[in-house]
């Protein structure tokens, strides 16, 4: 009966721990390992213009829907301008306004994004475009072209591909030559294509952006063609007809409108600079979680002051040590002094490093023991004797520190990190066991303690584990579940197999 409650409780703890963990990992994107860094691109657009005499209004298209990328943050730098963000037909528009300005003006808009495959085009399905009003003789050219291409294609995608093949033909037919006569820039070229597609009742629009790669002082916008096939948006390279976006193509804005309009200014120029840096994946996840308003971030350890974080980095490993302790005691069956003494020793080993820790600990206990035996002759009462041992331990620590400092071995200084009360108790316990059960038993338990401490040290020192527990403290619930389960383990301990071996032979 009780057994079942234990399993239910353990399962409950494990499920809670694991689901919070999975949510934070999969949904919020907290990284599993420490050095996981995500490349972050910061794109800065600078709008330059000469101010006119009157009030100035600047309107800049800024990224709205960016398939493949997620926005980390954005900001604008402008001196004295009022700023607000609006939604226009082409997406978001940043608007700056000022009553008066003198001389050359520069307005910066900066956005930081990182790659995230889960971000998709979540645009709504557009309506069929109205038939464009085209004047003769262009109208006939468009009609002929559309019907020709329609004959040689099956669906929206193949229609677009065929159209693009024709318009990019080095020796185009006269209709196309006529249509493209006025298209000088690539934007105008794509503009003509969208018109032709509209005549075929295919929703199409221009996409402007750039492929992100490393650091670019001045990136130039590339125009791509976006076509809706009724289910989703398809991207076409207007120059080749290839149906896919370039690697890491960052969409800045869509539509036919120019990127920037400045009222009351002249000589407008827009430049883009791209910078790539790496940001701790944790920071990105935090920002994301904060945006979503999940409580996960409010209760994240990363929100604590750095110093407290360092303390918790160590504290959170203690449950791991406790788990090791449980395994060593109840599953393996190793004798050790004190319930958690080995875990505390392991904590000290973290600072001293294993080899030195072992040397220092053994020295300390050995010296303490011999002095404890001397004290025994004085026949002191229990509590005064324990206090005397404690004082001796402190003095020994001081002595070891000073000696090693004189010898130039700075590692010896870390002896001060050993939990002295615990060591004093260990010395006392060990001496009592020594006296009553003999040196062999005392040594066995002493070595047992060290073995458990070393095991705990190894597991508590795993950097990835430390990061995992620190980022996902809910995993401690899983450890709690394991400990609870171990608490109902009624099988043999490993050491008992040896102890009762004689019984198994008969």
């Amino acid at each position: 009966m009780k057994q079942r409650y234990v399993f239910v409780l353990a399962a409950l703890l494990a499920v809670i721990g694991l689901s919070v963990f999975l949510y934070k990992w999969q949904v919020l994107g907290f990284p599993l390992s420490e050095d996981q860094e995500t490349p972050v691109w910061t794109i800065e657009s600078a709008v330059n213009f000469d101010s006119g005499p009157g009030s100035i209004k600047v309107q800049l298209h800024v990224p709205t829907l960016t398939p493949g990328f997620r926005m980390l943050n954005e900001n604008s730098v402008s001196r004295g301008y009022g700023f607000n963000l609006n939604y226009g037909s082409g997406g978001r528009e940043a608007q700056w306004a000022i009553r008066r300005a003198d001389g050359e003006q520069t307005i910066y808009y900066r956005i930081s994004v990182y790659e995230d495959d889960s971000v998709d085009q979540s645009d709504t399905t557009p309506p069929f475009p109205p038939l464009p009003v085209i004047n003769e003789p262009l109208k006939t050219a468009v009609d002929v072209l559309v019907s020709d291409v329609r004959d040689q294609s099956a669906d929206t995608a193949s229609f677009t591909a065929e159209l693009l093949r024709r318009v990019n033909d080095p020796t185009p037919d006269p209709n196309i030559e006529l249509l493209l006569a006025g298209a000088g820039s690539s934007a105008e070229f794509v503009g003509v294509i969208t018109t032709i597609l509209a005549a075929a009742r295919i929703p199409a629009r221009m996409v402007h952006g750039f492929p992100l790669s490393g650091r670019q002082r001045s990136a130039s916008l590339v125009t791509w063609l976006e076509v809706h096939d009724g289910d989703q948006w398809l991207y076409f390279n207007p120059m080749t007809g290839e149906e896919r976006l370039p690697e890491r193509f960052f969409v800045w804005w869509r539509g036919n409108e120019p990127i920037v309009t400045v009222e009351g200014g002249s000589n407008v120029e827009v430049g883009f600079a791209i910078q790539q840096n790496h940001l701790d994946a944790v920071a990105i996840a935090e920002t994301q979680a904060a945006k979503r308003g999940t409580i996960a971030v409010d209760f994240s350890l990363y929100s604590l002051p750095i110093q407290t974080q360092a303390v918790y980095g160590v504290l959170l490993m203690i449950p791991i040590g406790a788990l090791i302790m449980v395994i060593m005691r109840n599953l393996v069956g190793i004798d050790a002094f004190g319930t958690f003494m080995p875990v505390l020793i392991a904590l000290a080993f973290r600072e001293t490093k294993l080899l030195w820790g072992l040397v220092l600990f053994t020295t300390l206990v050995a010296l303490g023991l011999s002095i404890r035996f001397l004290l025994d002759r004085l026949r002191l009462l229990l509590v005064p004797r324990l206090s005397a041992v404690l004082i001796v331990v402190v003095l020994l620590m001081l002595f070891i520190s000073l000696t090693s400092h004189r010898l130039g071995m700075e590692t010896g200084l870390s002896v001060a990190l050993f939990p002295m009360v615990i060591i004093a108790m260990t010395i006392e316990r060990m001496s009592v066991v020594w006296e009553e059960r003999g040196a062999a038993d005392a040594m066995r338990a002493g070595i047992g303690s060290l073995v458990v401490a070393i095991a705990a040290y190894i597991f508590m020192g795993l950097a990835w584990l430390e990061h995992l527990i620190f980022t996902f403290p809910e995993l401690l619930l899983l450890i709690l579940a394991l400990v609870v389960l171990a608490g109902r383990y009624t099988g043999y301990r490993l050491s008992e197999l040896r102890r009762f071996k004689a019984l198994s032979l008969e």
């Binding site: 009462l381 009592v432 038993d441 198994s504």
Partner: protein, 327 residues
């Protein structure tokens, strides 16, 4: 490894984890522990139930009373000093005589002489809690020193051999004799090197001994054969141990008894966490016997009836659960 575990499981060998979680935690409520952890209380309870215990000469409960020791033992030549809350036989001084000229020189069972000062130091350590289970202040008991029955004199090296009976829900389940050796320093503690010998519950005869984890035929110090010794008043011992359950209420209990030359079996102490070495000494596991007791458990049975059931059900040499046939 798993093969050994499987084999042990078949043999019904009880492990520490199982003992702790399935028996001690289930059958021994914490509130009853003081009854057996404090030997003064145990003694009172046993006396009240009409069981025989070694006479209590005096109790030293505070450091200030330590000097009363001399008065307590003024007329005694032999006595035992033990911590009220000790465990595993630690901290027990057995004084078997005094110096002929210097009365304040005491001869221990090991043959060593110690001064009164040393004894006082030991008592004050005991009172300070050095031997108590949790290190809390304790009391020192000074009581009658058992003159043990000659039955085991051939197979004991100094010290007092005792009889441990495991009582499961009032039914004696298994028993062994613990024989002190030179290695165990006269203590009847298997952990410290005493020899354990299983006992046939039906006849009260000893089986082969076990030293550490190995089977031995002879006592390592005296060379005498261990098996085949008939324990006197065996039925009385079984009944007394069975009564230990009625006195303490502990469902998984170890009762330790000694046989005094003059006074017969005396209850020394009872234990709420009896060890598992008794299985090695009897070369059989406890689990099957416990299962059998569960099957025939009768809440209304008297201690005498339960002892009789144990004699009937648990003869020695049960080879395997399959081979055990009820007679």
């Amino acid at each position: 490894m798993f093969a050994i575990a499987k084999k042990l499981r078949e043999k019904g060998v009880l492990g520490l984890n199982e003992r702790n979680s399935d028996y001690i935690m289930r059958l021994n409520p914490r509130r009853l522990y003081p009854l057996v952890d404090d030997k003064v209380l145990t003694k009172e309870l046993a006396l009240k139930a009409g069981m025989a215990v070694p006479d209590l000469y005096g109790i030293i409960a505070h450091q200030g009373e330590v000097r009363e020791f001399a008065d307590i033992v003024r007329d005694r030549n032999s006595f035992v000093i033990k911590p009220a809350r000790g465990s595993g036989g630690d901290g027990i001084f057995v004084v078997v005589g005094r110096g002929k000229r210097k009365r304040d020189n005491y001869r221990l069972s090991s043959g060593l002489f110690v001064s009164e000062g040393e004894i006082l130091h030991h008592i004050s350590n005991t009172v300070g809690g050095q031997y108590s289970l949790s290190g809390n202040p304790d009391k020192a008991l000074i009581e009658y020193c058992v003159h043990f029955d000659p039955t085991f004199s051939e197979v004991s090296y100094q010290g007092v051999p005792d009889i441990r009976v495991i009582v499961y829900r009032g039914y004696p389940a298994m028993a062994m004799v613990r024989l002190p050796t030179r290695a165990s320093d006269g203590k009847a503690n298997l952990h410290q090197g005493a020899v354990g010998a299983g006992v046939d519950l039906r006849t009260g005869e000893t089986l082969n001994g076990v030293l550490e984890n190995d089977v031995v035929d002879e006592h390592p110090d005296t060379g005498a054969l261990i098996a085949g010794l008939k324990i006197p008043m065996w039925n009385f011992i079984l009944e007394s141990s069975a009564r230990g359950y009625d006195v303490t209420g502990l469902g998984y209990l170890g009762v330790d008894m000694v046989i005094d030359r003059d006074r017969g079996p005396l209850i020394l102490e009872m234990n709420a966490r009896p060890g598992l070495n008794i299985q090695i000494a009897n070369r059989t596991g406890l689990a099957h016997r416990i299962a059998r007791i569960e099957a025939i458990y009768d809440a209304s049975a008297s201690p005498e009836e339960r002892a009789a059931v144990a004699r009937r059900e648990f003869p020695a040499h049960e080879l395997s659960p399959g081979a055990r046939t009820e007679t």
